[in-house]
Amino acid sequence: MTYLLEGKHLNKTFKEKAKTTVALSDVNFYLNKGEVLGVVGESGSGKSTLLKAIAGMLKLDQGELFYNGREYTGQKPRQTGKFLQMIFQDAKSSFDPRMIMERSIMESGRGAKDPERVRELVQLVGLEEELLQRKPAALSGGQCQRMSIARAFYSDAEIFLCDEMTSALDVSSQARVLELLQNLKKEGRLSAVFVSHDIALVSMLCDRIMVMKDGICVEQGTTTDVIRNPQDAYTKVLLESAERQNI
């Protein structure tokens, strides 16, 4: 079976002087079209390393990456950017502070500039067109994050890699961005790998969940299975702490 995105036996180790850190150890995953895969785990579990490896931002020690069945292992972000886009944690800093939003969004496209399409996408993410003429400093964190979603769509990339994209937002902005992503998913427009330390948030959006600890994927399955019937002790701990936080 051909998946939209697939990773096989991904391994990455960071060596610094005498210290060796295993960031990814034999990690396997897949993503279907129109699906959102959640990657959860504590800080240092390897989830951001996994995202960077998928994006081509760091070189793997071992393993293969596939897009629509074609191997792209070793490709750099300039090439991987044709089919995937990063949505960063700090949306504000992902826009050039000197550029207005319209120009920044149009810059993400590889073809001819299309201001009309930018306006359509900004409406799609629930923002007013006039915000396109503003610089990032004049927008809130939530507005910037919606703009970055619009930018990802403008780039025509099929896969979005979301790195803790709501963690820098306040609760109400977080809810609005989550609602937007849920709507996009319902419309079948969203295929994404969604990295977060918040298992509750991931369970609201993702079709499948991958739990990571110390560079190892300890559990992977559908959201319902992982939430209702966790198999690994670490997943249970994550769920318990999420429940405690909700109380």
């Binding site: 950017g81 700090d90 992902s94 050039d96 810059e107 780039s155």
Partner: protein
């Protein structure tokens, strides 16, 4: 907000004074009452009067006219030198910061070596080898001047290249040249330009210093440093001949330093 407004007012006031100063040198041909290079046997070492507002020198030349024309040489040479050093240093700094590697290490070690010696010592040595002249003096000072711009541009590039918006541009398939030109250079321009403004004063001191030592401009071309050096010989009998160019040098340096500081203050608020 109030602080920012006050800083802005300071910049405007100093800028107006700088523009007036520059205009006075640009319009020297209109303002100057006498030919700055024409000696006159009947007006030797005249004290300031209505006809010669700053007196005359040892060859009977109008000090006021020479100060105005001298400003052209001093200010133009300073601006040109700062501009070239700014351009060369910024390009080197951006390339070193963006690509890193062996060339970065090599150029930064060269910079360290150049910074290990006092700038004026190297400048005097190089100007001496080049037999003086304004071009020689500019090369002599320029050899070390690019370093400060390069180091500043390099450190800013290091920070900028890891910004998420640069990564976003990479994902959009933009070339290194595009990223440097559209994202890195505009975002580091402000601090490097501020550095250029604060360098104008020290460059002027350097150029005037070399001229004072006979390693700069060749007489009879009026230049503030060489005018001070000439008038030094008869300072006790005609002190006004040294006062004019000295005051012009001091005022210009203070104005440009003040402008640089004001811009820096404004940016920091």
């Amino acid at each position: 907000m109030r602080k920012k407004k006050r800083a802005k007012t300071k910049i405007i006031i100093v800028s107006v004074l700088v523009v007036l100063l520059l205009l006075s040198t640009v319009l020297a041909g209109v303002i100057a009452p006498h030919d700055p290079s024409e000696p006159c046997a009947t007006t030797i070492r005249l004290a300031p009067c209505a006809e010669y507002p700053l007196g005359t020198d040892n060859l009977g030349r109008c000090v006021f006219s020479r100060v105005l024309y001298g400003g052209r040489t001093t200010i133009a040479a300073t601006f040109l030198l700062v501009l070239i050093s700014f351009a060369v240093g910024t390009i080197i700094g951006i390339l070193c910061g963006y690509y890193g590697g062996f060339v970065d290490k090599l150029l930064m070690r060269v910079a360290d070596v150049l910074l290990a010696f006092p700038q004026m010592v190297i400048a005097i040595a190089v100007a001496g080898i080049l037999n003086g002249g304004m071009t020689g003096a500019m090369i002599a000072l320029g050899i070390t001047m690019w370093v400060s711009f390069a180091r500043l541009a390099r450190s800013h590039t290091f920070t900028l290249k890891n910004e998420a918006y640069i990564q976003a541009a990479v994902f959009a398939g933009k070339s290194d040249f595009y990223i440097i030109l559209r994202h890195i250079f505009p975002n580091l321009l402000a601090p490097v330009l501020t550095q250029a403004l604060t360098t104008i004063g020290t460059t002027m001191i350097g150029l005037s210093g070399l001229s004072f030592l006979g390693l700069g401009v060749v007489p009879p071309t009026p230049e503030w440093g060489s005018m001070i050096a000439e008038a030094r010989a008869y300072i006790q009998i005609a002190p006004w001949a040294i006062m004019g160019p000295a005051a012009a040098t001091i005022i210009t340096i203070i104005l440009f330093n003040y402008l640089g500081d004001a811009v820096m203050d404004y940016r920091e608020i």
